[in-house]
Subunit: 363 residues, 2 copies
């Protein structure tokens, strides 16, 4: 397959130097490398790959992920699910509790046209989902979200997981779809899931899917014994936080934010036109808001909304006003969510701009 | 005037309980109070009010600001300027260096149809602006941006300011428009500006505008002797950071993010459907990412992209799954920039949704 077949590009010129800034550049060659590398590992492990589209929010890349072997996609919000369904994706897991009358109606409408599974971690959530399933006229698979140590959503014990599984199984318009977790540590998750599986088997429930996820631990082998599918999002683009953790190399970071140097008040700092409205304020434990690799990993040491402060004290060849720089952001997912369009490149070649289909779909 | 005359609302129902979440609610009564209070102060001081629209990004509110007495608006990016020009705003100051061939063409096109002033802090920037002015066929006013202590953009000394003013004055297609700063402290800014004014007068240059700004110091009287106009953005909505600094009361915070409780794993935490893609990761020195006033100022103590972690340990009446909460965000400007639409309310009455006209206009 040619990954580019899924794209329809808007022509924005052929040279990076001609692009308006700030704008994220997505290197499609690196994207394809990242997708193939992870798919090969998933295949080797015999674990279904269900990538999270929250990172790229592009229908074209969701299709590429599936064509390369992904079982389906993961979405975090109904709005993302609707955009992906509109684009022709038919297999998705929504890993966020659907709560509220309007949202349940939207879920029902989605369930009529695509294979969507959802999650729940309380009877209140399941009762709502049951209404949606009945509206849809088909049994929606519901996975029990387990808090295996991350301290976010999820039932708090294997016993509670099986209780909720039984409740789902007994609810009209639903079927028990399995277990889902976003682990704290793999070891804790494994222990929780093993017990929940044992108890659910004793209860006569068949657990078809055990869904785990997380990019930071994606290459670790331990703790996957019970896992049947894995959700990973950032792996498609990677970012500074994952490079610094050793999950990828900087060469595997597919996205940089192209920015222009607009001010050079002194020899210590340059101001660029990418601030928190382009790079976000996400730190993820790092110092600074991104790095410019071609300037010896010069740090964006501060951001205001539209200003990025670049530390050029140690740069031998200091950038001038008008120069372009490429910032590798700390956390790529929320960066993409700030832009209506990204520009797809292959090395130095500009292929064109594409709309970020699911940008801002938080509802 | 009726502030609502500027709005065309999309009907989203009449009750807050019927809204989809997460979504920012803008209380128009509080907005009007905030606008009038600041305009009255500007009038009393005899300083022109030039509000920054980066906070609200709504054409309707920009028009309301002008109708209530603002001299014109401030924009931070060309994209914002274009949106506001399209909406009929004719007087604007762009407080960001315009650099790059495409952007200079866009500036020239704008200068043909509205009164736009710009800033510069280097000869390189002025040389570009000169081309734009010549393309536009009119002299674009350029203010010299002065770094009076904030350590961001700006010339580094009063002497450098006057050198650049002379350079602007001598450049085709431009005229010297005055001095502009975003102060570190008012005292430092006053000292810098006084000296720059003295030197520019000696050089025979008339400085018509001295533009300062900043919400945190907006109520302070000192250090305004030389200031002819003031740029303030957040004052229209205010937020937790300004309430905590004592710049406003919490009752003057016009925006809250309406969110739904989707999970209650235990008695210590509730998960809401507003994470960093709704509240941002901006901390501004605060603990947590926002507070829920009606729950005893319960803190959003952590955020993932779509999850907000609400600390309910000290709540007497703990929220249940499905309950709505209103989060007062730390920093309202980047929050608004995440949403395609905001919902305008008056107290408990829903007036309707409006498009955030200049959302995402970072270029």
């Amino acid at each position: 397959m040619n990954i580019l077949d899924h794209f329809t590009f808007e022509n924005v010129g052929y040279r990076i130097e001609d692009l308006e800034t700030p704008v994220p550049l997505v290197d499609i060659g690196i994207v394809e490398h990242n997708l193939r590398k992870w798919q090969a590992r998933s295949d080797k492990l015999g674990i279904a790959n269900r990538p999270h589209i929250k990172t790229h929010k592009l229908a074209a890349l969701a299709k590429a992920q599936i064509e390369l072997g992904a079982r389906g996609i993961t979405v975090q919000k109904l709005g993302e699910a609707e955009v992906m369904a509109d684009a022709g994706i038919t297999d998705m897991l929504l890993t966020f509790n659907v709560v509220g009358a309007h949202k349940l109606e939207r879920l029902a409408a989605l369930a009529k046209r695509v294979n969507i599974s959802v999650v729940a971690d309380s009877r209140e959530v399941v009762e709502g989902l049951s209404k949606a399933g009945q509206m849809a006229g088909r049994d929606i698979p519901v996975l029990v979200e387990c808090d295996t140590g991350a301290g976010r959503n999820g039932v708090q014990s294997p016993e509670a997981a099986v209780d909720l599984a039984k409740f789902i199984h007994a609810s009209k318009g639903l079927k028990y779809g399995g277990l889902m977790t976003y682990p704290g540590t793999r070891a804790d998750a494994d222990k929780f899931l093993a017990k929940a599986l044992e108890l659910s088997e004793q209860a006569g429930l068949k657990t078809e899917v055990v869904s785990s996820g997380g990019s930071p631990d994606m290459w670790k082998d331990e703790g996957l014994a019970h896992v049947t599918e894995y959700r990973v999002g950032t792996y498609i683009y990677f970012d500074r936080s994952l490079a610094e953790r050793g999950v990828c190399t900087y060469d595997e970071c597919a996205v940089s934010v192209l920015a222009t140097v607009v001010s050079r008040p002194n020899d210590q700092r340059a101001l660029i036109d990418a601030g928190s409205k382009a790079l976000t304020s996400d730190l993820l434990g790092l110092k600074g808001y991104g790095v410019v690799r071609e300037l010896g990993f010069a740090k964006v040491y501060n951001v205001n909304e539209e200003h990025g402060y670049l530390d050029i004290a140690d740069c031998n060849d200091k950038p001038k006003v008008g120069d372009l720089v490429r910032v590798t952001p700390n956390h790529v997912c929320p960066v993409i969510n700030l832009f209506d369009k990204v520009v797809v490149v292959r090395g130095k070649e500009v292929l064109g701009a594409v709309k970020v289909d699911a940008r801002g779909m938080v509802q």
